[in-house]
Amino acid sequence: MNILTLVRQVPDAEARVKINAQQVDLDGATLVIDGMDEYGVEEALRLRESGAPVEQIIALAIGPKRNEDALRTALAMGVDRAIHVETDEKFDAVTLSRVVAQVAQAENASLILVGGQEADWDSQALGAASAERLGWPQLTWTNELKLDGETLTGRHDVDDGNESFRATLPVVVTTQQGLNEPRYPTLPNIMKAKKKELRKDDPAGYGLSSKVRTVNAEIQTRARLNRMIDGKDAQAAAQQLLDLLRNEAKVIA
């Protein structure tokens, strides 16, 4: 079987995000492989290491040039080869799922791993939309995974707690914290990764056209009161805070 893992290169959580001409401008921001996707790359490697009959692990990125770095990270972690559908045009997750589905079919993948929520779009849609296009079931917010033949078992979070599940491949799985601790690429593996295939694919072949337009983007910070209460006298501070919450903010009875 082949596993497809999706990766994106996104701003580091601490990176400053700028707006330019009403759009997000990542120029100068520190960029990293999306942590949520990294869990998926790691899990693919672990499934193979645990003895599942995994032939190829292929990393796929769709988007601007910067995603090459995410693919290099995945290759250095141990995936076999990478595909980059390079485009500067902005597509929403449901549109991008067209590429995922077509690549999954072309590469004969029967398991797709993708981060539960990407740190650039704050979207959870890519896994589900890809699953629907392929006619596959999906398991989201997975934090435990085992593969025995074609049978996938594990646990994932649901609205009111968590569930253990069983499903038969092919499946789309979305990954998150708790699933594993992603490995650091070692220097020898980083060197080796340079020789691995990173194929560029023409986006034109995938029939993409976004139905969602971005009208503008802004950094909206809510003005905060920043009222500081002196904490030296605990009793007085507690009383003052409660008074403010009751009478000024009116948030407690």
Partner: protein, 315 residues
């Protein structure tokens, strides 16, 4: 028609459903507001739904006894097609954001995810949503058939409509669920659900220990009738269940008051609670980033301030 898929638990309509009704009313989209109630033995929920909607479609079937993404997507799509809905609104819960993209693909519709505001601009439906770990607010729009998920806590719950809506039973032909649930653990809490709470008390690592967490965070929450939240550091340390985690990889909350005890205010945490109406922080480090977003702050030791707060709030 505007189709809303009702969210309900334990035989009661969720607050999120009332929020979606407001979102529909504010969207500027035309046509009757239709609530679709999926489930089994849901007559009581349907009655509650009728109070706020123009009409209620009730699919009361054993196949809908438990949620499944593929089944929910199929049900919603069938009704949207039969009713010629131009707008489908689904809750921004974990499950809602899981099956809504499938509905968008099935309907070949645009998908506006996790909207915090909705309005119409000519033929286009405009939505605001947060991106980049909630540091950016983007406005997006789409024409024609649109599937929208609505972020919990972003719209006021709708008051009852002037007249109760008509109820209709619907029959659906549904696919079999392909994911088999082999076990379930419900992280039950005797307290209000985080996404429904007006007040949340959250503890971070600064609380010191699991025992202190109960003694301080839970006790204060109980006095205030509040929900209990936790940071990832606390969840990773095994002090609290993941269900209580607030942040990028936990829950997003927008209560009227968010009281953060011993929480540093890392970006990943802020992305889950930064839109709360009032933020109250207690931290011994005056430089902690949480103070930058706080409305009220006390620089002080949890071990001194919180017992005083618990004592004072008991009166």
């Amino acid at each position: 028609m505007i189709l809303i898929v009702a969210e309900h638990t334990a035989g009661k309509l969720a607050k999120a459903t009332l929020e979606m009704v407001t979102a529909a009313r504010e969207s500027g989209r035309e046509g009757p507001i239709t609530l679709l109630v999926l489930g089994q033995n849901i007559a009581a929920v349907a009655n509650e739904a009728a109070a706020v909607a123009d009409q209620v479609l009730v699919a009361d079937m054993p196949e809908l006894a438990t949620y499944n993404a593929e089944v929910w997507a199929a049900a919603t799509t069938q009704i949207a097609q039969e009713g010629e809905a131009h707008t489908v609104i689904i809750g921004g819960s974990r499950s809602g954001r899981e099956y809504a993209p499938r509905v968008a693909v099935k309907l070949d519709a645009a998908y506006l995810e996790d909207a915090t505001k909705l309005s119409s601009n000519g033929a286009a439906l405009q939505a605001q949503r947060y991106t980049f770990l909630a540091r950016v607010t983007e406005t997006v729009d789409a024409d024609g058939l649109v599937v929208v998920t609505v972020k919990p806590g972003s719209f006021a719950p709708a008051p009852p409509a002037a007249a109760a809506g008509e109820q209709y039973d619907v029959e659906l032909s549904l696919p079999a669920a392909r994911v088999e649930v082999t076990g379930k653990s419900v992280e039950k809490s005797s307290r209000v659900a985080l996404t429904e709470a007006d007040v949340i008390v959250t503890g971070g690592r600064g609380v010191g220990s699991p025992e202190n967490f109960s003694r301080y965070v839970e006790a204060l929450a109980d006095n205030l009738g509040a929900g209990v939240g936790a940071t990832r550091a606390v969840v990773d340390a095994g002090w609290r269940p993941y269900a209580e985690q607030v942040g990028q990889t936990g829950k997003t909350v927008q209560p009227k008051a968010y009281i953060a005890l011993g929480v540093s205010g890392a970006v990943q945490h802020l992305s889950g609670m930064g839109k709360s109406k009032n933020i109250i922080a207690i931290n011994k480090d005056a430089e902690a980033p949480i103070f930058k977003v706080a409305d009220y702050g006390i620089v002080g030791d949890i071990n001194e301030i919180v017992p005083a707060l618990i004592e004072a709030s008991r009166k």
